[in-house]
Subunit: 321 residues, 2 copies
């Protein structure tokens, strides 16, 4: 697919919204079946005049220990995994970014690891190309939060920028929290890694490319943000709306779906304010179940796109088929 | 209107949802025009099988000073009031509760002052009776937060309970915050009044009537809660859904509409975490504009029910007519 340069140069989002431009700038002529593209590391879905592509950066294996879910005994966690037909000794943790094409622009939501971690990760660009998306064509990156696995893909190990021409949108309270040196210095040694990962990426990042926003504000017509604090101090979900169709990327609001969608009261060890994260999880999942729109999650296995349904005291995750 | 006792005793919310019970238990045969009932202190609206009644507890006059909006110069605030056709020297602050009738139960959202404040307030029951609602028929009270003007109506000046048979639903983080004696004792003198108001109402409140909930969780079928922290630590909005129709009571997410709906970046002096409140305001108002449902606000003048629309960098409040 080609970005239509004329559309782009005209800054035409309002024209496109008003129907003056052909929808073909961001609408593919056909989509391959979900099952066929998962092995190539991506899944695509049409959403009104937008196209959403879930793109895997890879999967790592994590041994399951008693600390992974803060507030549930290990046997209960293992039972939940078994009930979902999953291994009970470890979790295969996926890292899934999303490319949103809307009104002639390409947005990347979260970034994976680039070449900063194990060879099981850093596969984002390979999978984007398989989906026909040139990584160099990304116009903007939008971050849900600044944990390392969501931001490392902005800068390679050699220090070079991965998306030098893209604006990087990040929630103002998130950026402020992590870039606060006094807070970093006051943090216990074990908690400093997160601050250092942020500095590796953002120290000396071109200032004119960093666009801080108030959570809840629109980033562009059709692209809004949702304050979803708790996992981190400024964690923010991202919603795309086109022709009455809605897609919401929840980031890490619910970490692994078989555990935290099913059991929204469970708190993953990475939830920095666990009680706030729990309230946010209930609130956002309940909303998504009510509205019935398309949902994406970062640590959700491909297709990583699907729907949320209410089920008992929790929710069910229904992946696209 | 009579509560259907049989419906009530059967605990029939799921039956009603499934269509096994006649909708007439909570559906009025007719509603009076909005303009006609405002002078009687209430406004009613049918919402699927539910009925929503905005009921005024009264209005007080507040001199406008430079501190009312934390982060905008007084002349800008006065200009916003003038643009809305309002006086610029003071604000007539309304206190509006809502009665939700659904599946044979009556829920009161926030409580006003009862007889604890000036004679311009405490009018809730007079206005409820004008609307044909017996205050003694309230089955449950749901609180958005525990500031005095929202909770004082639970207990009269003489110590007696106003709704002795009703359950009182309150967000767990809100209750925990205000009932924490160590926190009260550590608060500066000027901030202690809020803690004391909470103790006047809740110290010795029958424990079996207090139902703490995780924000985001449902209270009953069709009645959900939305974490909307910032104005207070556990501030929570309340949503009612019936037959695909939705009503959301935002509490104090946006205080006076001509100021804080129009200018969601403005922070009222009562916002306890002003930046979090700003993010929550953008997020919730944006969502309500997107979904187009009915909205109610506590400090919104009658009819106090209406719709939110996006307008420039903020929102417009469109009251019911």
């Amino acid at each position: 697919m080609q970005i239509n340069r004329r559309t782009w140069l005209l800054g035409s989002s309002s024209l496109a919204m008003a129907g003056f431009l052909p929808a073909c700038t961001t609408t593919p002529t056909s989509l391959k079946p979900v099952a066929q593209t998962i092995s190539a590391g991506y899944v695509q879905h049409k959403l009104g005049n937008a196209r959403i592509t879930a793109v895997s950066d890879g999967v790592t294996k994590r041994a399951l220990d008693a600390g992974f879910v803060r507030n549930a005994p290990l046997p209960e966690v293992q039972a939940a995994l078994a009930a979902a037909g999953l291994p009970t000794t470890h979790i295969d943790v996926p890292y899934t970014c999303f490319v949103v094409e809307l009104d002639g622009k390409r947005y990347l939501l979260d970034t994976g690891f680039a070449d900063n971690a194990s060879p099981q990760t850093g596969l984002l660009h390979t999978h984007m190309r398989a989906a026909g998306i040139d990584p160099a064509s990304i116009d903007a990156v939008i971050l849900t939060h600044m944990h390392g696995d969501h931001i490392n893909g902005l800068r390679r190990k050699d220090g070079s920028l991965v998306y030098p021409r893209a604006d990087v949108f990040v929630a103002q309270p998130e950026f402020t929290f992590w870039m606060d040196d006094a807070r970093m210095n006051a943090a216990p040694e074990a908690a400093r890694g997160g601050f250092q990962a942020v500095r590796r990426v953002f120290a000396n990042y071109p200032q004119d490319k960093i666009k801080q926003f108030v959570p809840g504000r629109q980033i562009a017509a059709g692209i809004s943000t949702i304050a979803a604090f708790g996992h981190t101090p400024g964690h923010t979900a991202i919603a795309v709306q086109s022709e009455q169709k809605r897609f919401t990327f929840i980031g890490d609001t619910a970490h692994y779906p078989a555990l935290f969608v099913k059991h929204p009261d469970w708190q993953v060890q990475f939830d920095m304010n666990a009680e706030q994260a729990r309230a946010t999880r209930h609130t956002l999942l309940s909303r998504l179940a009510d509205e019935g729109g398309l949902v994406g999650g970062y640590h959700f296995p491909l297709p990583s796109l699907g729907h949320i349904h209410k089920a008992g005291s929790g929710f069910d995750w229904q992946p696209l088929t």
